[in-house]
Symmetry: C2
Subunit: 327 residues, 2 copies
């Protein structure tokens, strides 16, 4: 917890900080970013909220989500940059921009096992279910009162990163914090209706297509769906619409390793990986320069999609035979 104290001490002596979360932001990235910003503003610290990509519509209900902006060439960055939920600097989508630090202090707050500790202060808690759990601790240490908006943002981060308290990362502490956040006014109905019960027609079409084209290997222990660029664009699904599809694959009884291949740009395929109980997908993703957690990881691979599928599935099978660990 030495790092946590360092971060507290650094923050309270500053008048302005920038808070940056990873590109294609999810609920944990956005919820953590918004909650920390709201808390720091209460202490009179100005915050600049940066994300390379737009906030997906299903998160527009989050307070202040509209002030999260891409890095502007003109904007003068403050002396302290806080990176949230980013395992590497590259995850911001702005690696080049941040490589020239010009004396700025970088703070890295994250819960990914693949975190490469790129900052001056690296507070990485692999056991935390979400970065939002860590921000909850930080806000408590800063002695800022958690209001309804902070509570909703933090609850969103925790709920979405645990698949609504379902994944292996869910602990007694996770529920303890969730209980406290509901007491403090977290709006769980808004989260449910806007995020969980908000399947667009585009995503519904993708889901139908995906279910009709499920593939399996290794006695159905490995299951996957693949979508080409034209399938994604024709189905009228925005990028974030594809995000939850992998759960439909993982939820099939026999499946231990689930994969979804999405050609997000022509010649560029995003691979999402999940495992049910023992296979280490973080290691599998690492073979292709990706990462994440043992049960949830991702990578991006360039090339022909059919070739990519063949390569990744073949590596998955190989790893399967080695007990889920790549040598």
């Amino acid at each position: 917890m030495e790092e946590l104290l360092k971060i507290r001490n650094l923050l309270i002596t500053n008048k302005e900080v920038a808070i940056i979360s990873h590109s294609n932001p999810d609920g944990d990235a956005l919820g953590s970013q918004i909650a920390l910003s709201l808390a720091l503003e209460k202490l009179g610290i100005q915050t600049l909220l940066i994300n390379k990509d737009p906030v997906p519509p299903s998160y527009h209900f989050l307070p202040n989500s509209e002030i999260i902006m891409p890095l502007s060439k003109k904007a003068q960055l403050p002396g302290v940059l806080i990176f949230l939920d980013c395992a590497t600097l590259d995850r911001t989508g702005y690696e080049t921009e941040f490589l020239n630090k010009q004396g700025r202090i970088f703070i890295n707050i994250d819960h990914h096992i693949s975190n490469d500790k790129y900052a001056d202060i690296n507070w990485v808690e692999e056991k935390a279910a979400a970065t939002a759990e860590m921000i909850y601790d930080l806000i408590s240490l800063l002695q800022v009162k958690i209001d309804k908006d902070i509570a909703t943002a933090l609850y969103t981060g925790i709920s979405t990163d645990t698949g609504s308290f379902l994944y292996e990362n869910t602990t007694s502490t996770t529920h303890q914090i969730a209980s406290d956040l509901i007491n403090k006014g977290a709006n769980i109905s808004e989260l449910r209706i806007n995020f969980y019960e908000n399947m667009s027609k585009g995503r519904l079409n993708l889901l139908k297509k995906g279910l009709n084209n499920l593939s399996f290997a290794q006695n159905d222990k490995i299951g996957w769906m693949a979508f080409t660029y034209s399938e994604l664009t024709n189905s009228d699904a925005v990028d974030s619409d594809g995000d939850g599809l992998i759960n439909y694959v993982k939820n099939i009884s026999e499946v231990e390793v689930a994969l979804v291949f999405r050609e997000i740009e022509p010649g560029k395929t995003k691979v999402s990986l999940r495992s049910k109980s023992w296979f280490d997908v973080n290691q599998l993703a690492a073979v292709f320069q990706g990462g994440g957690h043992a049960r949830a990881a991702g990578c991006v691979i360039e090339g022909d999609q059919q070739e990519i599928v063949k390569k990744v599935i073949s590596k998955a099978q190989e790893s399967f035979l080695q007990g889920g660990h790549i040598r």
Copy 2:
């Protein structure tokens, strides 16, 4: 809480009780039944666990699930019968058998708003997310130490009845109890893998069929799937496989009221109803002699399925125009 105390006092003076849950049992019925039984046995009270229907395979991981049996003609019922998660006596599937009480004391522990208080002691808490939350309180009052098995059973009841902490019934207390149960050893991975990530091929086929035959009314605000008896039997899906399908309908952005019609026997259709934020499906189900909660209810209707669908949807539309309440 007067009833809770009455129940405690009655139980500790008895040597044997029967615990009965509703037919087609779900996680809350089974989890509550098993947890209460384990706790009472620790106090030296013998328990007879009764359910009209078999325990679905996805709940076989629950400790002692194999000792839950249908009512046997030969078995002598004890002097105290505890009904769990049953809004009416009829929900047991054994109404006739229980109408002749022969001096027995009936205890009714339930959280359904439609409960008709059919017993000698009726402890009904509409605000409880699950009957398992109430059993948690009862076990605490009985001063029985919650062990790993009791914790897993109670957690299963709470998790499944809240859609994994997602539905409106989830409160700060719900998470508080969940936190405590994990501390006490609840096996949440077993629950996740056996229940949530256990979609059979039969159910997958039903889901595909259902998604390809979605129907909508009232500007997509009402959505439904219907399955005939032969579709259900041909898809190789057991009855419990159909249970989660309704969430796929409710999760569509526009949908406020979701319905699934399943012809469970030729000429007999089970209707499941869910609503997202304001429509009272308990009232709609009541029109057809069913019931439940404002956001989740069910009924069984006899007749031609197409006619049933027409009748229910027409009533839903009528109710929709009246603001979700039947007059």
